[in-house]
């Protein structure tokens, strides 16, 4: 009654969890991207749903506010026919003195196959993967990693540029506090891109060069020959922590506006993981301009997350279901 499952199970994937891009090989990243490409095609059909994860239970455990990532994962799970449950701290026991591990074990006891976790503390997805039987997908842990965001950024670049190897990618903004920056750096460098991180000296973490990137504090120099500029959201509380002097100064020195765009390559891609601060790190005319691919990133996020859920859920059960 449903369309055929469009994906042949792919060899080369044997991970139950997606905790970060640091531990993935270039081949594994490419496998996710290729799988996502197939799923993107599903989104163009009249019936956008496939039965791949029918009978699976996926819990969205978001212990930190999120709108688009949570929605994107929920939708991805629904399109794969999984049952989804939301779990957020305001309605959970986390505020009543129960530890995270206890809470997670309780959720798992209800029969959960995949836990998608967003948490303010780095390392929580790894910690959960050590105590739970379910697959864990990291939807962002503090400033550590946000692997699906990194993947959807890389997917978008590959889709529009046709390759990753040799491209010049600038990640611009608050690098220190950005999990998006870290996941992008791991993924892009593994696939052969040249990455430059650019931002105020107070917001670029120490020894980041050891991750295989260049560091710049001069935006115009950094973006002059860039193929991609990935802008990061600047958090206002960083100003209170004295990490930059004022929003006005940040915007003048590190923001991307129409004037600055004139000094970039004509085919440069402007990316942003959202939510954007219009007029701070990105001027409205740039956010809405021809080079902006910000909404394409959101669309691709869905396909990437379908691919990740599909891969970690494993193909075995899927085959069994088909025979039944």
């Amino acid at each position: 009654m449903r369309p055929e499952i469009p994906i042949e199970p792919k060899p080369g994937w044997n991970r139950r969890h997606l905790l970060g891009l640091e531990e993935l090989s270039a081949d594994e990243i490419t496998l996710i991207l290729d799988t996502a490409r197939s799923f993107k095609e599903v989104s163009t059909r009249d019936i956008k749903k496939v039965p791949a994860l029918r009978g699976k239970v996926i819990v969205n455990m978001f212990v930190e506010p999120s709108t688009r990532t949570k929605t994107s994962f929920s939708l991805a799970a629904k399109r794969l026919s999984a049952d989804t449950v939301d779990f957020s701290p305001s309605t959970s026991s986390l505020s009543k003195g129960e530890t995270l591990k206890d809470t997670a074990r309780n959720i798992e006891a209800m029969g959960v196959d995949i836990v998608i976790v967003r948490h303010w503390a780095p390392g929580v997805p790894l910690m959960l993967s050590n105590v739970l039987k379910a697959s864990i997908i990291n939807a962002g842990d503090g400033a550590h990693e946000h692997p699906t965001q990194g993947l959807l950024d890389i997917f978008t670049i590959r889709e529009l540029k046709g390759r990753i190897r040799g491209l010049k990618v600038v990640i611009l903004g608050d690098i220190t506090h950005s999990r998006v920056a870290r996941s992008n750096i791991w993924g892009l460098t593994k696939l052969g891109a040249h990455v430059t991180v650019c931002g105020p000296a107070t917001l670029v973490p120490p020894f980041i060069e050891d991750l295989g990137v260049k560091v710049s504090h001069n935006v115009d120099e950094a973006i002059a020959d860039a193929d991609v500029i990935n802008l990061l959201r600047i958090q206002m509380e960083r100003q209170k922590a004295n990490l930059f002097p004022s929003v006005r100064e940040y915007s003048r020195i590190f923001g991307i506006d129409g004037e600055r765009m004139k000094r970039t390559r004509k085919d440069v891609l402007i990316m942003h993981p959202g939510p954007i601060n219009r007029g701070v790190e990105i001027a409205p005319d740039v956010a809405d301009g021809e080079q902006s691919v910000i909404l394409k990133q959101v669309t691709n996020g869905l396909a990437v997350r379908m691919a990740v859920l599909f891969l970690v859920a494993g193909v075995k059960e899927l085959e069994g279901e088909e025979r039944a």
């Binding site: 640091e22 530890t99 995270l100 591990k101 948490h119 303010w120 503390a121 780095p122 390392g123 929580v124 790894l126 910690m127 842990d141 503090g142 400033a143 550590h144 990693e145 999990r179 870290r182 973490p205 120490p206 020894f207 980041i208 050891d210 991750l211």
Partner: protein, 426 residues
Amino acid sequence: MSSYLIMGGRVIDPASGFDAVTNVLIEDGKVKTLGSASPRGYQVIDARGKVVAPGLIDMHTHLREPGKEDEETIASGAAAAVAGGFASVASMPNTDPPIDNEAMVEFIYLQAKRCGKANVFAIAAATKGRKGEELSEIGQLVRGGAVAFSDDGNSIANADVMRRVLQYAGMFDKAVISHCEDRNLSRDGVMNEGYMSTVLGLPGMPAIAEETMVHRDIMLAAATGSKVHIAHVSTAVSVELVRRAKEKGIRVTTEATPHHLVLDETALRTFDPNFKMSPPLRTKKDVEALRRGLTDGTIDAIASDHAPHSSEEKDVEFSAAPFGVIGLETTLPIVLTELVGKNVLSLNEAVARLTLNPARILGIPRGTLSAGAVADVTVIDLDKEIEIDPSRFISKSRNCPFAGRKLRGCATVVLVGGRIVSGGNG
């Protein structure tokens, strides 16, 4: 009181440089003589094939009483101490309430006496309430038995207050123990600032947060002529600062912990809160520098910084967990295996850093086996293989960074004041 003949062990007494196989006679709670005689009428402790050392001293522990008796008590800490080979510990004053008056110091000694295990020497708060503002009643605290002064984890931020503490404690010739950390620089950090903190996305505590304070306190010690002891030194620069200060004759001493001497920040890849402490685990280069400092004598003592935490507090998200790990029951095996066993220290040097040196820094009449000394003795089996299993610790807490390690060497018998408080019978 029983009299003992500790027979046939390799007796190491760094105070006199003694190192030979001989017998130790214990009578009336004191060391009577060292020598080959084996008179009758003594209970024999067979130490053949073992090392007989002065009772080990851990000069940096947290026993949590009063205030956090679910994590440790003076009794449980003192029992854990002797299980780990320590005849004496010095306890830090960061209890609730803090140890900042004479009665509270006496309470520590009373509780230690009641349990009758290790000696517990009280380190008292340098300022009232450990707030870094007003001097505590240092003279009366000394009368109550305080052996040194420290605000412990609360580094005294105000340099003038630190100067006055040094001047005042100097009248009593007591050391001021400094946890060197500029809180403005360490901010909300939870680990060493560097490559690993960048990779893991955890806020870092830069090495300079420690080093600027080490430098300041050395200068204040030089200016006042008083004794400063740098607690748990952790960076290469700190070691070098202490080394140069000692060359100039400034009265500075320092200690290092087993975890800072053995582990580095790469352990945090697991996000295991049992690797979270302050100062944090540093880089491999810092570990090497610490080991060199230990070898050349810049680092005087090895101390555990035993910091018990309940599992419901500690076994949580790394960022949310409190700082600190326990060490009373692992320090000696770690030192023997990782430092003596790997030629960082000779056995004699290791014994000195666990006995004589901390005794001198604290000014306590311990740390030697010379005739007439209090009979605190630790018998060590260098060949005994053990595996660290925190579930079997005597300590009430389990937050140990060395779980599962296979180590070689541990204490088999401990005497405190001429009484067997651990092991024996065989």
